[in-house]
Symmetry: none
Subunit: 252 residues, 2 copies
């Protein structure tokens, strides 16, 4: 099975502003995609494209320029057309997430994601060449994502679909027995500093227990917390020894 990053091509139709082509190259590369196909770009190559690509100039350098959508999608098994508007003719629809997952699941299939003109999108004729229409859910009062933003979202979803492995790191929380000893220690100190009434420790202790259980301190965290408690006790004890010494000096 070949990688989704190899199988997806981004097709831009009749892009007006070369800066947008550069921004698309950048958006693609940040998500690990590299195959860019330009159908009749208005101005290309162009300094604005290179400037906005900002380090993704390899994607630009390898871009293919075509004279028609048909040519651009040659060899593809699935073609998805991005469409902002609800069309009069209903067509199979997918959300960006569904499209990405579907693409990831299709073994060695070659995939095209087709994006239309900045102001008018894809024509009906172009949309009918696509297998599925994909709409990015947007604010109905202001659905005007720019071209690179739409490509960014589609590539982001495709990247996540390509790698559904979730690795969670981090230290294990402290074993329960360590936490229990901390709670006992905390209770003792709270009584020593007269914050807790030893007759009725219940409510306060329960809240603190819930809080620390939720925090899931690891072994080192518990050591630090107990270190703080011991430091408090040391100071209290040192002072009470000093008191006694003063008292005994008084008596001699």
């Amino acid at each position: 099975m070949s990688s989704l990053f190899e199988r997806i091509r981004i097709v831009l139709i009749a892009t007006s502003h070369p800066g947008n082509i550069g921004a698309v190259a950048r958006a693609m590369k940040t998500m690990g995609f590299k195959h860019l196909v330009l159908v009749e770009p208005k101005h290309y190559p162009h300094a604005d494209a290179t400037a906005r690509a900002s380090g993704a100039d390899d994607v630009l350098a390898n871009a293919t320029v075509c004279s028609s959508l048909e040519q651009a999608i040659t060899g593809c098994h699935y073609v998805f057309g991005l469409s902002a508007r609800q069309r009069t003719i209903p067509w199979p629809q997918m959300s960006p997430r569904e499209c990405a997952q579907y693409s990831a699941d299709q073994g060695d299939a070659e995939i095209a994601l087709v994006f239309g003109r900045e102001h008018s999108g894809l024509t009906n004729e172009e949309l009918e060449i696509c297998h599925y229409h994909v709409s990015i859910d947007a604010n109905p009062d202001y659905p005007s994502l720019n071209l690179a933003a739409a490509v960014q979202i589609m590539c982001y979803e495709s990247r996540l679909a390509a790698s559904t492995v979730s690795v969670k790191g981090g230290a294990l929380p402290a074993p329960v027995e360590d936490l229990e000893r901390f709670f006992e220690h905390l209770e003792r100190v709270m009584i020593e500093v007269e914050f807790l009434n030893p007759q009725q420790p219940g409510h306060i202790l329960r809240r603190l227990r819930r809080l620390f259980v939720k925090a899931q301190p690891d072994k080192q965290d518990v050591n630090i917390l107990r270190g703080v408690l011991s430091a408090v006790q040391r100071v209290l004890k040192g002072q009470s020894v000093a008191d006694k010494e003063n008292v005994s000096k008084n008596n001699t």
Copy 2:
């Protein structure tokens, strides 16, 4: 329960290029978000910002300009910091999708999504103010999403999450400013009991900060914790008064 679109504020720190601020406003508005907070923008207001906002000038017009991150997040219950790099200090992490779902699920909580400088991101100090770090999965060889692209993805995920809210109960966590006061109080007491070296408080304080941020204490929890600290201080002070009295008795 108030809408996620009302509860999320986008915070940009020290943005260099005003054009990026405009592009962010546009990205936000396409996804239905409107609260933009700018912390010490280099050039603002600026014609480039207005030009790139392209119809989202209402978002710009209503943007708040602040002089510090603390000011920008006042009143927030959850603060998410966008972070591209793996940091040496581990911190609670979420993916954009987890962050969005989490935010959507927190009833009436005020949420801040904090984005750093174009080239250097957030400082460690700023990252430590955040409850969670969010990394957008990207091409390790070229992870340089531009600012508006990162905002676009976060707002896109948040928009999708807003339509799939699963309501959870429970008290809101304490607002960030209460937590900050607790941290200051904790540091003072740890120094008073000679647990902390005031010259090098960093490592220990950072761990404790992470622990309590993870625990998400509510207002009453914070009151109890500060009550414990105050009790320690009262006892210390009482004893030092007692010491002095003993000393003066010795002298008489």
